[in-house]
Symmetry: C2
Subunit: 430 residues, 2 copies
């Protein structure tokens, strides 16, 4: 690293240090707020966003113009685009967060010990949470709202494609926080170069947790470079396994919904495994369904053959395709001789996100549930249900694919830590 790069990184470190210290100071205030105060503030933030809708849409238009100039695909433009209706929906999400129970102060467990000490484990905010994300500017608002409700100060690092939108949103939120008599530094935006990310993920002792949310490259870079605790999110090579005892009508619905209902997200299915005993009956139908929806298919030889017989194009599949998260209308398809072979395949290619079995056989589903290692195991349901909103959490900050701290959809409780409180009358240890 040359001297100029060093100097730039040092500048980022200083900026992040300052931001984190202001965040720490704000977090002390946030940790002590009552639910009523937090909910009232969320309402003020929501109103402020609606009122600033014009400025936010204008800032977003400038992001979109820059994106178009740089050749941003229409699908990405659509994810980035904010309209007055979308801003209103984003503001409503804050009101919904206000309606959720306060995670802070919840007593997780407790007891009175033999010596009379009363112990209880209570949820407390993490403190200062960093969030690094790409794409959609609504994540900025969701993160700020979930952070406020869980008593955390948030340091946000959005994608450069949404820089103007994020800047305007955070400006609006900070002004609203002050209006609510809360510290503006409860929400901060880092807008420097990549050095800011490096500085954020190595700010040990200043930042309590970093959550990366985005593509595989972003998440890998954060996980490998971080020295602060990280929650890994979102890579989903999701399988649907259709057992020999599946209700094949249910299976067709689930495969189609899992793959095509929203193919760009992490809980969409990428791979279909079919038990050999039902392959000849099931595959021609489901391949036809998928093909009709525009899904490009990659299959093992038997799948290619069954496709050809039914007049459906299936390319030969590679291991890379079995390992891929397509994020689009592509699907790998395999035939397995046994349930065990399906579990082995998932163990080899899965990413511990969501795995689905379709079966009416109780012992098969029990085995699948017990042996498949994933954040979410679904029986006879679409993989698309792995979602904080669908699980009833009211909102979602990401989907954890690691085993530490949080697994699956993360919302308010997952943004808290705990503290043990021990109360006595002078007990000492013998």
């Amino acid at each position: 690293m040359n001297r100029m790069t060093d100097a730039a990184l040092e500048e980022s470190r200083q900026r992040v240090r300052d931001a984190a210290e202001r965040a720490r100071s704000a977090s002390r205030r946030l940790a002590l707020l009552s639910r009523a105060e937090k909910d009232a503030a969320l309402g003020i933030l929501a109103d402020a966003l609606t009122q600033a809708s014009g400025q936010i849409v204008a800032a977003n238009e400038s992001d979109l113009t820059r994106g178009r100039e740089q050749g941003m695909p229409e699908s990405l433009q659509d994810r980035l685009r904010l309209t007055p209706e979308r801003v209103a929906a984003i503001a409503d999400a804050l009101r919904e967060i206000a309606g959720l129970p306060d995670p802070v102060g919840e007593v997780v467990r407790g007891s009175t010990l033999a010596n009379g000490l009363q112990i209880r484990q209570v949820r407390v905010p993490m403190g200062v949470v960093g969030m690094i994300y790409e794409a959609r500017p609504n994540v900025t608002v969701d993160a700020a709202g979930l952070g406020l409700k869980s008593g955390n100060a948030m340091i946000l690092r959005g994608g450069s494609a949404a820089a103007d939108s994020n800047a305007q949103i955070v400006r609006t939120l900070r002004a609203a926080l002050e209006q609510a008599d809360l510290p503006a530094d409860a929400v901060q935006l880092l807008d420097g170069g990549h050095d800011d990310v490096t500085a954020l993920i190595t700010a040990r002792g200043l930042v309590d947790l970093v959550i990366p949310r985005g593509g595989a490259g972003l998440i890998q870079a954060v996980v490998l470079g971080a020295t602060v605790p990280v929650i890994e999110t979102g890579i989903g090579n999701v399988h649907v396994y259709v057992d020999r005892a599946a209700d094949l009508t249910v299976a067709r619905d689930i495969v189609l919904n899992s793959k095509t209902q929203r193919p760009s997200v992490c809980n969409a299915a990428e791979s279909l495994l079919v038990h050999a005993e039902v392959a000849e009956e099931f595959l021609p139908k489901v391949l036809g369904d998928l093909s009709a929806e525009g899904v490009t298919l990659y299959g093992q030889p038997l799948v290619v053959e069954l496709g050809r017989a039914a007049g459906i194009a299936v390319e030969p599949v590679t291991d890379e395709q079995f390992a891929a998260e397509f994020h689009g209308l592509e699907m790998s398809v395999g035939v397995v001789p046994t349930l065990d072979a399906a579990i082995e395949h998932i163990d080899r290619f899965g990413t511990l996100h969501t795995e689905v079995i379709v079966s009416e056989d109780r012992s098969a589903t029990r085995k699948f549930i017990a042996e498949v290692d994933a954040a979410v195991v679904m029986v006879n349901a679409s993989s698309r249900f792995t979602d904080g909103g669908e699980f009833g959490f009211g909102a979602e900050i990401g989907i954890s694919t690691q085993k530490l701290h949080a697994r699956g959809p993360m919302a308010l409780a997952e943004l808290t830590s705990t503290k043990w409180i021990v109360e006595g009358d002078g007990q000492i240890r013998a």
Copy 2:
């Protein structure tokens, strides 16, 4: 790094990779065991240790001889020493673990969604857990026992001072696992050089969690070098704050017990803060108590002065001493004008482990509980109660001082992750 070092590290990586793959395979088996099977195996392990007591004590004698030759202090020799009685006590710890409830399978929460999907979050083993520790060979047995009960395969890396003891213990445990018809690779010992540690903490995808347990240097090295998830443990700069509303008799007992009952451990107090209003009454007494117990005292000017008036030697304190975890008979002593000043001091010098307030004033204790950021906040009780055994967990794998996943004493539940199980009848997303 030169080529020879590279080659050695690559060799370690290969060895750790092989060990982790064997551990993964064993962990699949462990994850499916019933409580009855695990408890029976723990009994067989305990019996095997008792039967091998002679060999274990002999191996330990060889560690001790090497230690004495290298000038190991008597206190460390005592921590390392195994006698037939100590081996019996270590074996009994396994029987106690067998008596604890099985954490695996516990339903943490669950509900039925509006669409009829039944969701439940269930505790599952982490999978493969690495543990890096120094000092006492009983940790080897505790880790193996807690790992087995929680369904995890353990890769252990003990300190070189206990190499022969650990090797004999693990040999005994592995033979007993086979006798119990379980995979021996549920417990493995890494006995290579420091490269093994580097390889273990960077074995992403192979190792689910690493827990370092030992001195500050070890823990820092692991936390900074790791790319696998880590739980930071055990650095404790523990404060006892004696409020102006303290029962001073209770306060003397708590200060003395917190500092001297076992000064070498992380939950021993290192620093005493006294409210100015009671300093003149309280300090001469407690400084006398501490001095009589052989505690070397470092104090702020008023403390030095009060000590001198009472004929007790108190050296002027430095910020380094206020920040230090002495692990021995030394204590820093400060006088604070207010409760807020005490909280600020703890915020500056504390390590988020255990903080104690002695007070009969309800608003003071409530404020201390709410505002002090620590794994454990004690009111009118000795800091020595921060301990898995004391909390009723039956055993302890370490004390987490981080906020992610686990905070405070860690036992069986903290060695588990969770899995969401979603059961439906063909539900798809609209």
